[in-house]
Symmetry: C2
Subunit: 351 residues, 2 copies
């Protein structure tokens, strides 16, 4: 990141908001998407942050995404709901689903809300952590926006990196917030390595004969490996059924590669679940028990070669604090492209 | 398995039921536990089937498990419930929780039921598949009954193999039923290799200096590796928080090794979730869509070295059918021990 410069989150947000408004999003929607995009950068999920603005722009311009969706609750029964995203930006659909899931959880102890006709929504951790706003546990699953993974033992890319994120509130420690793709490496890491001219480690990808693929420029000759072999494949499949098929969203052959195709409706599926610890006992007691588990894990003696135990989400929350204070490191090339995008849209460049 | 003989499931069930009745379980409870134990064998989860009867007997005799629990719904609000297992056999507690989760899901679309003061309940797939009885999706998480896993980068065994199982109904194909430990290998496989005098592959365990441990007789000098490194650790931790801490059950330092300690109350935690696809659309349409995904995965061209694509649960359901027809293969040594146990309890041996 030696060629990066630090840019305040507020400046990135303003640019994204202005660009999205120029692309016909209503002002409040543009602000919501911009905030969530930049929050991904703050969390350290660079591959899901402001970097994606160019692609979102392409898809909005090409008619692949509806800038003014009528997001509706299509079905709501008991503690579950199904939301029709009307092909709007995924961030908007998921913000709506998270709010509904929390409302349901406040009433029923749990809220399970699925969406169809959503779109790429960025980092999973953004949504799993929303229920923390109300001292609830959050769980998010999604069908990824391009297939890079065959079923275990196969060569046809029928699965995406279908991620899961789960966030659990705690007391004095930060939340525990797992966010993981079901592949060994996210596809963004392959693209980054290719841009930098670096090779990738064995174990990330294989070619169509099963041999390790370590040249990321040859990525389209192979595919990602699932985490833990058949187990990761199983998780990707299950999350796809729960976040895609159950919601009437695309999964399997129906998934459109949103990086290759700017104009088709993706019918992306995502699911968010909120769980209220209040239903199981005293919330402060629960958060304190999570703190104890956090501290217990940290206190383990270390293996040679390690200098600390990390809890899931610890790095993301440390990044959130550090980047909020010091700005988000943005590569020079991305700064140039964001300013070009601003110029195209007739809005102010980065300061 | 050359030294195994095939024994009909009914004969194994009768023996387990008689032994458990002799150990003071009420007749209907003994039957329920026996059926679930043998169903684990039928599913091919030999390490969780009739093989465990000796250990359950030890713990019942030593007062570590309550043969006549008063299993109660301690809290029930909306779609969630917390069950006090009263230290009964885990199978009974989870059967009760699964029934309640389905009742809640019928009413609210989803039911999330956690338990504390439960015990080892055998194979996760037994419980995740229960909601299939009512065309529902099932999800089961548990805190394992002994810690074999340190946090990633550590050496203190603070985590168990905390499994997850998810089962999704389908139409003409079998259900999709994932059942996985969050470690590369289940601990039972290590014990089996040690008994057979075999070595274990690199990647299953490491010693306290981080070196591969391949001699299973030295298992107590090392620990299991999580699936996918830090990701498996993250999953084990999250499932522990959701199935243990949230339910007021043991997790972390509090977990008692039920193989080493026969008399202490384990306060085992498990959670079962039922989700009704009815709330999201037509059930038959959903099951047919799951069939399509199943068929699509199976149809992928194969990597060299593979002769088929398997769906999660496919092997378990094939085993269920084959072993129901032909009997369960039981090693001779286990047959002898089961008959010795029967003699100790004054009940009939295997026929």
């Amino acid at each position: 990141m030696t060629d990066s410069i630090r840019i305040p989150a507020r400046a990135l947000q303003s640019l994204a908001e202005a660009v999205l408004t120029a692309l016909d999003l209503p002002a409040t929607d543009a602000r919501c998407v911009a905030e969530l995009m930049v929050k991904a950068d703050l969390f350290g999920a660079d591959g899901h942050g402001i970097f994606r603005l160019r692609r979102y722009t392409d898809r909005l311009r090409a008619g692949g995404v509806n800038p003014r969706p009528n997001i509706t609750v299509q079905r709501q029964e008991g503690a579950t709901a199904l939301v029709d995203g009307d092909n709007g930006m995924g961030h908007l659909v998921m913000r709506r689903c998270a709010d509904l899931a929390m409302d349901l959880a406040a009433q029923f102890g749990i809220g399970w809300v699925g969406a169809h006709h959503s779109n790429h929504a960025g980092a999973a951790i953004l949504y799993a952590t929303m229920p923390l706003e109300r001292d609830m546990i959050g769980l998010y699953m999604a069908v990824g926006s391009a297939n890079h993974l065959p079923p275990w033992g196969g060569t046809e890319m029928l699965l995406s990196t279908n991620p899961i994120s789960v966030a659990v509130p705690s007391g004095h420690n930060g939340p525990v917030a797992l966010d993981m793709a079901t592949t060994v490496a996210a596809y963004g890491k392959i693209k980054t390595a290719a841009q930098r001219g670096e090779s990738i480690p064995e174990g990330w990808m294989i070619d169509k004969t099963g041999k390790p693929l370590t040249d990321p420029k040859r990525a389209n000759e192979g595919f990602l490996l699932p985490v833990g072999g058949p187990k990761g494949y199983g998780l990707a499949l299950i999350f796809g059924l729960l976040a895609g098929t159950l919601n009437g969203a695309a999964f399997g052959k129906d998934v459109i590669d949103f990086n290759a195709d700017a104009s088709s409706v993706t019918n992306t599926g995502q699911t968010i679940v909120a769980i209220s610890p209040r239903m199981f006992g005293d919330v402060e007691h629960f958060k304190s028990a999570v703190d104890d588990i956090f501290d217990t894990m940290k206190s383990s003696p270390l293996l040679p070669g390690f200098n600390e135990i990390r809890l899931p989400g610890e790095r993301a929350y440390a990044s959130l604090k550090e980047r909020t204070d010091n700005g988000v490191p943005i590569p020079q090339a991305l700064v140039r492209d964001l300013n070009a995008l601003a110029a195209e849209c007739g809005v102010a460049p980065l300061p």
